[in-house]
């Protein structure tokens, strides 16, 4: 009887040991799996951040490059053109009355050519760097942009802002929204064959929404992404948004046309340190 009692205990202990092992096994699998998953997620996050940084740098250097070109155009060619205009004026004055009709015509022609070139250079520099955006903010910049396009009689562009006063946002965000708006409106003009474009800008619950709707032929963004048709424009919009945690949604309104809705979390200007307006401004070189 004594023996059987001992055997019973031995069995009990063995079984409990086996069970403890099983428990440990299960806990270990659960714990280890969880940790591996967290590690994997961390690595993914790092990778994503790194990619975003790369993209950010690429876009930043693009903006810087534009700025540099605009600066050079303005400072070098602009100045030279002004000087040319001045010299030309002097030449006209000096020639005085002692010239024939032919010479007169050529002079006037060169004068108007130079003036036109000056205008072109100014327009190009302003297109390259949205100075209005930096000085007065999104509302003004968008208004200016559509004002420039409004000369076309067959196209009406309307712009609604959700509020009177649009709080200034971080420069990067304003520029992103502006560039996206530019691309969307350009697309509508280029591809949509439309007569009306509507732009709306609103802030809702910490999100800035930009919607561009046209009444043109419309397109299927899914198909566009699959096919090799996808242009740089739509891709550029996505990569710009990715940097600022934004999203874009293309819709096909029932009454036809196309509509794009971009959303970015707000970034009030106080939260970010102001970047210099003209980084890499070249010192003027005196020859």
């Amino acid at each position: 009887m004594q023996n059987s009692e001992e055997l019973k205990w031995a069995l009990l202990v063995a079984s409990l040991a086996m069970l403890t092992m099983a428990f440990c096994m299960i806990s270990f699998v659960m714990y280890y799996q969880k940790r591996r998953f967290e590690e994997e997620k961390k690595i993914n996050d790092i990778e994503k951040n790194y990619n975003r940084l790369l993209l950010d740098t690429a876009l930043n250097s693009e903006e810087t490059e534009r700025r540099r070109i605009a600066q050079d155009l303005h400072d070098d060619i602009g100045t030279m053109l002004s000087l040319t205009k001045l010299s030309l004026n002097q030449l006209i004055k000096m020639a005085g009355n002692s010239r024939n009709e032919k010479e007169d015509q050529i002079m006037r022609k060169s004068q108007s050519l130079v003036e036109e070139t000056i205008l072109h250079v100014r327009r190009i520099t302003r297109d390259l760097v949205p100075t209005t955006l930096e000085r007065f903010g999104l509302l003004e910049a968008i208004e200016e942009f559509i004002h420039k396009l409004a000369e076309d009689k067959n196209l009406t562009i309307s712009f609604h802002a959700g509020m009177e006063e649009f709080p200034r946002q971080a420069q990067k965000l304003e520029l992103t929204l502006y560039r996206i708006m530019q691309e969307l409106v350009n697309n509508a003009i280029k591809h949509a064959n439309c007569t009306r474009i509507e732009i709306t800008l609103e802030i809702r619950e910490e999100l800035i929404g930009l919607r561009v709707t046209d009444n043109g032929i419309g397109f299927d963004p899914e198909k566009m992404k699959e096919s090799s048709m996808a242009g740089l424009g739509l891709l550029g919009i996505e990569s710009r948004l990715a940097i600022l945690n934004g999203t874009v949604l293309y819709e096909k309104p029932e009454k036809g046309g196309a509509s794009a809705f971009a959303q970015i979390p707000v970034m009030p200007v106080a939260d970010v340190k102001l970047e210099p307006l003209h980084p890499f401004r070249r010192e003027r070189v005196n020859v």
């Binding site: 019973k8 079984s15 799996q33």
Partner: protein
């Protein structure tokens, strides 16, 4: 008839719960439509088979008849159903071949074990439990479960194990067979008519874990979602 069952139930309540708790995961599988997953279809078959065997054993035990024949016969079937579940969880062809071979091999082994344990097969009244087969079944199932755990860790495809149905099923099996593995061979010696040796609590542990295993199955099946299965 009924009072006989009642007396048996009051005498052995844990055993009775273990018999009828099988209904819980069984109904849940049907209710959650988990049987669209082939592994859970096999689990359903296993549970149905187990319920039938358990009810027969419950009846014969209440009638004071020897029911160890059913216990022995069920062993290779249990193994086939349970290991069959893993057949669909691994993609390796060699593994699948090995699994099929192990089912056939184990069937032969169990028949040999039954014959060896019972030199007089026609004497059903003195039929004895097998010596090795149940333990070997436990070892094989535990090995399969551990293999599956290894695969989970290696492939890293399941974000949350606590909502992964098959993890619960495996944990239940692991606990049940761990609790049974040392006690099974002792049955061969103790489960006889003239034995006065009572295992006591050691006898109840596997039954308790049988109940726990059924509960684990139920939790797992509860987390089963047909939508998720369709996505895989």
């Amino acid at each position: 008839m009924f009072p006989v069952y009642l007396t048996y139930c009051t005498k052995n309540p844990v055993g009775c719960i273990a018999v009828f708790i099988t209904l819980l995961p069984l109904i849940l599988i049907i209710y959650r439509k988990a049987y669209i997953d082939p592994s859970f279809k096999l689990l359903l078959l296993y549970l149905i088979f187990k319920l039938i065997i358990d009810v027969i054993m419950f009846h014969t035990a209440a009638m004071h008849q020897n029911n160890l024949l059913y216990f022995n016969i069920a062993i290779p079937f249990y193994y086939s159903f349970l290991s069959g579940m893993f057949y669909f969880k691994f993609s390796s062809i060699t593994f699948k071949r090995f699994l099929i071979a192990s089912m056939i091999g184990f069937l032969i082994f169990t028949v040999w074990d039954i014959l060896k344990s019972n030199s007089q097969l026609h004497d059903l009244h003195n039929h004895r439990a097998v010596l090795f087969a149940k333990t070997v079944e436990g070892v094989l199932i535990i090995a399969l479960v551990l293999l599956f755990f290894y695969d989970i860790i290696k492939s890293l495809q399941i974000p949350n194990l606590l909502t992964f149905p098959f993890f619960w099923v495996c944990s239940g099996l692991l606990l049940y067979y761990s609790s049974f593995i040392f006690i099974a061979p002792v049955f061969h010696y103790t489960a006889t008519w003239k034995n006065s040796f009572d295992l006591g609590i050691a006898n109840t542990i596997p039954t308790l874990f049988e109940i726990l295993c059924a509960l684990f199955f139920s939790i797992g099946i509860y987390h089963f979602s047909t939508a998720d299965y369709a996505k895989q």
